[in-house]
Symmetry: C2
Amino acid sequence: MTRPIYQVKAEFFKTLAHPARIRILELLQDGERSVGELIPEVGLEASHLSQQLGILRRANIVQSRKVGSTVRYSVSDRRIFDLLAVAKTILTGTLAEANQLLAELEGVEFTKLQPPPREAPRQEI
Amino acid sequence: MTRPIYQVKAEFFKTLAHPARIRILELLQDGERSVGELIPEVGLEASHLSQQLGILRRANIVQSRKVGSTVRYSVSDRRIFDLLAVAKTILTGTLAEANQLLAELEGVEFTKLQPPPREAPRQEI
DNA sequence: TGGCGAATTGATGTTCTTTTCAAGTTCGGC
DNA sequence: GCCGAACTTGAAAAGAACATCAATTCGCCA
Protein backbone atom coordinates (compact mmCIF):
# COMPACT_ATOMS: atom_id res chain seq x y z
CA MET A 1 0.00 0.00 0.00
CA THR A 2 1.16 3.53 -0.70
CA ARG A 3 -0.07 5.62 2.20
CA PRO A 4 -2.80 5.36 4.83
CA ILE A 5 -6.22 5.49 3.28
CA TYR A 6 -7.32 8.47 5.36
CA GLN A 7 -4.47 10.51 3.95
CA VAL A 8 -5.29 9.62 0.35
CA LYS A 9 -8.95 10.40 0.96
CA ALA A 10 -8.08 13.73 2.56
CA GLU A 11 -6.00 14.74 -0.46
CA PHE A 12 -8.79 13.66 -2.76
CA PHE A 13 -11.32 15.81 -0.92
CA LYS A 14 -8.84 18.66 -0.91
CA THR A 15 -8.70 18.64 -4.70
CA LEU A 16 -12.49 18.92 -4.73
CA ALA A 17 -12.56 21.64 -2.08
CA HIS A 18 -12.87 24.70 -4.29
CA PRO A 19 -16.01 26.26 -5.78
CA ALA A 20 -14.52 26.62 -9.24
CA ARG A 21 -13.42 23.01 -9.33
CA ILE A 22 -16.85 21.78 -8.28
CA ARG A 23 -18.39 24.05 -10.89
CA ILE A 24 -16.11 22.60 -13.55
CA LEU A 25 -17.16 19.07 -12.62
CA GLU A 26 -20.83 20.02 -12.69
CA LEU A 27 -20.35 21.39 -16.21
CA LEU A 28 -18.45 18.32 -17.34
CA GLN A 29 -21.40 16.21 -16.26
CA ASP A 30 -23.09 17.29 -19.51
CA GLY A 31 -20.06 16.17 -21.49
CA GLU A 32 -16.68 17.26 -22.72
CA ARG A 33 -15.82 20.98 -22.74
CA SER A 34 -12.98 23.03 -24.16
CA VAL A 35 -11.16 25.50 -21.95
CA GLY A 36 -12.56 28.32 -24.06
CA GLU A 37 -16.09 27.08 -23.42
CA LEU A 38 -15.45 26.79 -19.70
CA ILE A 39 -14.08 30.32 -19.27
CA PRO A 40 -17.43 32.17 -19.46
CA GLU A 41 -19.33 29.36 -17.72
CA VAL A 42 -17.01 29.18 -14.74
CA GLY A 43 -16.27 32.89 -14.76
CA LEU A 44 -12.51 32.77 -14.32
CA GLU A 45 -9.83 34.27 -16.52
CA ALA A 46 -7.94 31.81 -18.68
CA SER A 47 -4.82 31.40 -16.60
CA HIS A 48 -6.71 30.96 -13.37
CA LEU A 49 -9.03 28.40 -14.88
CA SER A 50 -6.06 26.58 -16.31
CA GLN A 51 -4.54 26.35 -12.84
CA GLN A 52 -7.73 24.83 -11.47
CA LEU A 53 -7.96 22.41 -14.38
CA GLY A 54 -4.35 21.46 -13.74
CA ILE A 55 -5.16 20.57 -10.14
CA LEU A 56 -8.03 18.32 -11.25
CA ARG A 57 -5.90 16.83 -14.02
CA ARG A 58 -2.93 16.01 -11.82
CA ALA A 59 -5.33 14.29 -9.42
CA ASN A 60 -6.60 12.20 -12.34
CA ILE A 61 -10.12 13.50 -11.78
CA VAL A 62 -10.33 14.94 -15.27
CA GLN A 63 -8.45 14.25 -18.47
CA SER A 64 -7.66 16.45 -21.43
CA ARG A 65 -7.09 15.91 -25.11
CA LYS A 66 -5.99 18.31 -27.76
CA VAL A 67 -8.32 18.98 -30.67
CA GLY A 68 -6.70 21.32 -33.11
CA SER A 69 -5.65 24.37 -31.20
CA THR A 70 -8.09 23.77 -28.36
CA VAL A 71 -7.94 21.45 -25.35
CA ARG A 72 -11.03 19.52 -24.38
CA TYR A 73 -11.67 18.26 -20.86
CA SER A 74 -13.78 15.41 -19.53
CA VAL A 75 -14.02 13.48 -16.26
CA SER A 76 -11.87 10.37 -15.93
CA ASP A 77 -14.40 8.44 -13.89
CA ARG A 78 -18.07 9.22 -13.92
CA ARG A 79 -18.43 7.83 -10.39
CA ILE A 80 -17.30 11.29 -9.33
CA PHE A 81 -20.88 12.33 -10.08
CA ASP A 82 -22.16 9.70 -7.66
CA LEU A 83 -19.94 11.32 -5.08
CA LEU A 84 -21.34 14.77 -5.81
CA ALA A 85 -24.87 13.36 -5.68
CA VAL A 86 -24.31 11.77 -2.27
CA ALA A 87 -22.78 15.01 -1.03
CA LYS A 88 -25.85 16.85 -2.23
CA THR A 89 -28.28 14.57 -0.40
CA ILE A 90 -26.24 14.90 2.78
CA LEU A 91 -26.12 18.68 2.48
CA THR A 92 -29.79 19.15 1.70
CA GLY A 93 -30.66 16.68 4.46
CA THR A 94 -28.52 18.09 7.22
CA LEU A 95 -29.15 21.67 6.23
CA ALA A 96 -32.86 21.06 6.29
CA GLU A 97 -32.59 19.48 9.73
CA ALA A 98 -30.27 22.17 11.02
CA ASN A 99 -32.54 24.93 9.78
CA GLN A 100 -35.53 23.27 11.38
CA LEU A 101 -33.67 23.00 14.66
CA LEU A 102 -32.63 26.63 14.44
CA ALA A 103 -36.17 27.69 13.69
CA GLU A 104 -37.42 25.81 16.74
CA LEU A 105 -34.82 27.40 18.94
CA GLU A 106 -35.56 30.85 17.64
CA GLY A 107 -39.27 30.39 18.13
CA VAL A 108 -39.08 28.98 21.64
CA GLU A 109 -36.11 30.69 23.16
CA PHE A 110 -35.52 33.77 21.11
CA THR A 111 -35.92 36.16 24.02
CA LYS A 112 -33.66 34.07 26.23
CA LEU A 113 -30.79 33.74 23.82
CA GLN A 114 -28.70 36.85 23.34
CA PRO A 115 -26.84 36.48 21.02
CA PRO A 116 -28.26 33.51 19.10
CA PRO A 117 -25.99 30.44 18.84
CA ARG A 118 -23.74 29.97 15.81
CA GLU A 119 -23.80 26.19 15.94
CA ALA A 120 -26.35 23.66 17.10
CA PRO A 121 -26.23 23.41 20.90
CA ARG A 122 -24.60 20.42 22.49
CA GLN A 123 -27.07 17.67 23.19
CA GLU A 124 -27.35 16.97 26.94
CA ILE A 125 -28.08 13.55 28.35
CA MET B 1 -31.65 29.40 -1.71
CA THR B 2 -28.72 30.40 0.41
CA ARG B 3 -25.71 30.18 -1.88
CA PRO B 4 -24.82 28.43 -5.12
CA ILE B 5 -24.67 24.69 -4.65
CA TYR B 6 -21.10 24.43 -5.89
CA GLN B 7 -19.97 26.76 -3.14
CA VAL B 8 -21.75 24.81 -0.41
CA LYS B 9 -20.32 21.57 -1.74
CA ALA B 10 -16.82 23.03 -1.89
CA GLU B 11 -17.04 24.08 1.76
CA PHE B 12 -18.34 20.68 2.69
CA PHE B 13 -15.43 18.95 0.99
CA LYS B 14 -13.07 21.43 2.61
CA THR B 15 -14.20 20.36 6.06
CA LEU B 16 -13.42 16.76 5.09
CA ALA B 17 -10.07 17.66 3.53
CA HIS B 18 -7.77 16.76 6.40
CA PRO B 19 -6.25 13.38 7.30
CA ALA B 20 -7.12 13.68 10.99
CA ARG B 21 -10.72 14.58 10.25
CA ILE B 22 -11.11 11.62 7.90
CA ARG B 23 -9.50 9.40 10.52
CA ILE B 24 -11.95 10.64 13.13
CA LEU B 25 -14.88 9.80 10.88
CA GLU B 26 -13.50 6.34 10.15
CA LEU B 27 -13.27 5.71 13.89
CA LEU B 28 -16.77 7.02 14.50
CA GLN B 29 -18.06 4.50 12.00
CA ASP B 30 -17.73 1.89 14.77
CA GLY B 31 -19.78 4.06 17.10
CA GLU B 32 -19.58 6.93 19.54
CA ARG B 33 -16.17 7.86 20.97
CA SER B 34 -15.03 10.17 23.74
CA VAL B 35 -12.28 12.70 23.09
CA GLY B 36 -10.04 10.80 25.47
CA GLU B 37 -10.53 7.64 23.46
CA LEU B 38 -9.83 9.42 20.19
CA ILE B 39 -6.55 10.99 21.33
CA PRO B 40 -4.40 7.84 21.09
CA GLU B 41 -6.30 6.50 18.07
CA VAL B 42 -5.93 9.65 16.01
CA GLY B 43 -2.53 10.48 17.40
CA LEU B 44 -3.02 14.17 18.08
CA GLU B 45 -2.60 16.05 21.34
CA ALA B 46 -5.82 17.05 23.07
CA SER B 47 -6.04 20.67 21.96
CA HIS B 48 -5.26 19.88 18.37
CA LEU B 49 -7.80 17.10 18.25
CA SER B 50 -10.34 19.40 19.83
CA GLN B 51 -9.76 21.95 17.09
CA GLN B 52 -10.37 19.33 14.42
CA LEU B 53 -13.47 18.08 16.22
CA GLY B 54 -14.68 21.66 16.39
CA ILE B 55 -14.39 22.01 12.63
CA LEU B 56 -16.45 18.86 12.08
CA ARG B 57 -18.93 19.92 14.73
CA ARG B 58 -19.48 23.42 13.37
CA ALA B 59 -20.10 21.84 9.96
CA ASN B 60 -22.76 19.62 11.56
CA ILE B 61 -20.90 16.53 10.42
CA VAL B 62 -20.51 15.26 13.98
CA GLN B 63 -22.34 15.99 17.20
CA SER B 64 -21.20 15.85 20.78
CA ARG B 65 -22.86 15.17 24.10
CA LYS B 66 -21.49 15.41 27.58
CA VAL B 67 -21.40 12.28 29.71
CA GLY B 68 -20.12 13.10 33.14
CA SER B 69 -16.82 14.81 32.71
CA THR B 70 -16.24 13.41 29.23
CA VAL B 71 -17.53 14.48 25.84
CA ARG B 72 -18.67 11.82 23.43
CA TYR B 73 -18.77 12.32 19.67
CA SER B 74 -20.79 10.63 16.95
CA VAL B 75 -21.66 11.38 13.34
CA SER B 76 -24.81 13.41 12.68
CA ASP B 77 -25.70 11.59 9.49
CA ARG B 78 -24.47 8.13 8.68
CA ARG B 79 -24.73 8.87 4.97
CA ILE B 80 -21.29 10.41 5.41
CA PHE B 81 -20.03 6.83 5.36
CA ASP B 82 -21.65 6.30 1.98
CA LEU B 83 -19.67 9.28 0.80
CA LEU B 84 -16.43 7.86 2.15
CA ALA B 85 -17.24 4.51 0.56
CA VAL B 86 -17.85 6.06 -2.86
CA ALA B 87 -14.62 8.03 -2.50
CA LYS B 88 -12.79 4.81 -1.72
CA THR B 89 -14.09 3.01 -4.80
CA ILE B 90 -13.12 5.96 -6.97
CA LEU B 91 -9.65 6.12 -5.45
CA THR B 92 -8.91 2.42 -5.64
CA GLY B 93 -10.30 2.41 -9.17
CA THR B 94 -8.42 5.36 -10.59
CA LEU B 95 -5.26 4.63 -8.66
CA ALA B 96 -5.25 1.09 -9.98
CA GLU B 97 -5.72 2.39 -13.50
CA ALA B 98 -3.13 5.12 -13.11
CA ASN B 99 -0.58 2.71 -11.69
CA GLN B 100 -1.18 0.31 -14.52
CA LEU B 101 -0.71 3.09 -17.02
CA LEU B 102 2.48 4.19 -15.32
CA ALA B 103 3.79 0.65 -15.27
CA GLU B 104 3.14 0.34 -18.98
CA LEU B 105 4.92 3.58 -19.72
CA GLU B 106 7.90 2.64 -17.62
CA GLY B 107 8.17 -0.73 -19.27
CA VAL B 108 7.82 0.42 -22.85
CA GLU B 109 9.36 3.85 -22.92
CA PHE B 110 11.61 4.03 -19.93
CA THR B 111 14.76 4.69 -21.95
CA LYS B 112 13.05 7.35 -24.02
CA LEU B 113 11.56 9.34 -21.17
CA GLN B 114 14.02 11.34 -19.13
CA PRO B 115 12.73 12.23 -16.60
CA PRO B 116 9.55 10.07 -16.29
CA PRO B 117 6.25 11.96 -16.35
CA ARG B 118 4.58 12.97 -13.11
CA GLU B 119 1.06 12.83 -14.45
CA ALA B 120 -0.65 10.68 -17.04
CA PRO B 121 0.22 11.96 -20.52
CA ARG B 122 -2.33 13.88 -22.46
CA GLN B 123 -4.42 11.68 -24.67
CA GLU B 124 -3.97 12.59 -28.34
CA ILE B 125 -6.72 12.23 -30.91
C1' DT C 1 7.57 31.97 -41.51
C1' DG C 2 5.51 35.43 -38.90
C1' DG C 3 1.86 36.44 -36.19
C1' DC C 4 -2.36 35.30 -33.78
C1' DG C 5 -5.42 32.66 -30.77
C1' DA C 6 -5.65 29.01 -27.27
C1' DA C 7 -3.90 27.31 -23.30
C1' DT C 8 -0.27 26.44 -19.84
C1' DT C 9 3.46 27.57 -16.77
C1' DG C 10 6.20 30.26 -13.44
C1' DA C 11 6.68 33.67 -10.10
C1' DT C 12 4.85 36.41 -6.46
C1' DG C 13 1.98 38.73 -2.97
C1' DT C 14 -1.96 37.74 -0.21
C1' DT C 15 -4.99 35.13 2.34
C1' DC C 16 -6.49 30.91 4.60
C1' DT C 17 -5.42 26.75 7.21
C1' DT C 18 -2.80 24.10 10.31
C1' DT C 19 -0.25 23.57 14.40
C1' DT C 20 1.30 24.76 18.93
C1' DC C 21 1.14 26.75 23.42
C1' DA C 22 -0.94 28.99 27.15
C1' DA C 23 -5.10 30.00 29.45
C1' DG C 24 -9.84 28.99 30.51
C1' DT C 25 -14.06 26.11 31.50
C1' DT C 26 -16.64 22.33 33.46
C1' DC C 27 -17.32 18.46 36.18
C1' DG C 28 -16.40 15.01 39.87
C1' DG C 29 -14.17 13.61 44.04
C1' DC C 30 -11.95 14.75 48.34
C1' DG D 1 -14.67 24.86 48.39
C1' DC D 2 -10.48 23.13 46.09
C1' DC D 3 -7.93 20.18 43.15
C1' DG D 4 -7.23 17.36 39.19
C1' DA D 5 -8.97 15.42 34.91
C1' DA D 6 -11.19 16.21 30.52
C1' DC D 7 -11.92 19.32 27.08
C1' DT D 8 -12.23 23.75 24.72
C1' DT D 9 -10.79 28.25 23.33
C1' DG D 10 -7.63 32.08 21.83
C1' DA D 11 -3.65 33.76 19.87
C1' DA D 12 0.35 33.59 17.16
C1' DA D 13 3.88 31.23 14.28
C1' DA D 14 4.46 28.21 10.32
C1' DG D 15 2.85 26.31 6.23
C1' DA D 16 -0.29 25.71 2.16
C1' DA D 17 -3.44 27.37 -1.20
C1' DC D 18 -5.36 31.08 -4.06
C1' DA D 19 -5.28 34.75 -7.33
C1' DT D 20 -2.85 37.57 -10.58
C1' DC D 21 0.41 38.91 -14.00
C1' DA D 22 3.99 38.12 -17.19
C1' DA D 23 6.21 34.87 -20.04
C1' DT D 24 5.98 30.69 -22.76
C1' DT D 25 4.42 26.89 -25.71
C1' DC D 26 1.76 25.01 -29.40
C1' DG D 27 -0.95 24.84 -33.49
C1' DC D 28 -3.01 27.29 -37.30
C1' DC D 29 -3.23 29.97 -41.38
C1' DA D 30 -2.29 34.01 -44.11
